[in-house]
């Protein structure tokens, strides 16, 4: 069975600085997807960034980037130039890839509550 671990329940960062959120996972699968989701106070889960396991290049979306270490089963999220609007719960998630398309069964970590301070 797959598991996702986020070892930092809470973190804080000063506005404009950089912060890294940790995520490790355990799986025997070779093909899968990894995600970071953001849940602001509005509660809607928003996809921040997505990584396919077969791609060695780390995914980047504007100020958000990941450090994907497949052998170490690590998938950390780096937020550069933090903004007040980045304050949210951040969830790391895993999805197994199956032939014909993924099945949408996401496995989540417990989340990291990030506070960006002015």
């Amino acid at each position: 069975a797959q598991t996702v671990t986020q070892s930092q329940p809470e973190m804080s960062v000063q506005e404009a600085e950089t912060v890294t959120l940790s995520c490790t996972y355990d799986t025997s699968e070779n093909n899968y997807y990894l995600f970071w989701y953001k849940q602001p106070p509005s509660r809607q889960m928003i996809l921040v960034i997505r990584q396919e396991a077969y791609k060695q290049q780390n995914a980047t979306e504007n100020r958000f980037s990941v450090n994907f270490q497949k052998a170490a089963k690590s998938f950390s999220l780096k937020i550069s130039d933090s903004q007040l609007g980045d304050t949210a719960m951040y969830f790391c998630a895993f999805m197994k890839h199956t032939w014909g398309g993924s099945q949408g069964n996401l496995i989540f970590g417990k989340g990291t509550k990030l506070s960006v301070k002015p």
């Binding site: 809607q44 889960m45 997505r50 999805m95 398309g101 949408g104 069964n105 996401l106 496995i107």
Partner: protein, 114 residues
Amino acid sequence: EAGVTQFPSHSVIEKGQTVTLRCDPISGHDNLYWYRRVMGKEIKFLLHFVKESKQDESGMPNNRFLAERTGGTYSTLKVQPAELEDSGVYFCASSQLAASEKLFFGSGTQLSVL
């Protein structure tokens, strides 16, 4: 384009009562998922519809939970009778069949069972 919408946003009920949660997916999305986050724990998968059929219901906790998706459009999740441990946030998500790893989530329903 409207996103995934869930009703109600909050529900407070007493133990033993029945509650029905509703999810309207993005128009044209064949895949619909229900997830739940109990306080302090991980968000857990409950079940997956493809159109009106249940593709995977391995995450449903027990037979007090009934999910339906008549006509393959909106879905309901009924809890009957509700127990204290059912409290949490219930999320719905949808995706297109061709790119089902890209899930779009709703804002969830906060259920409190007293």
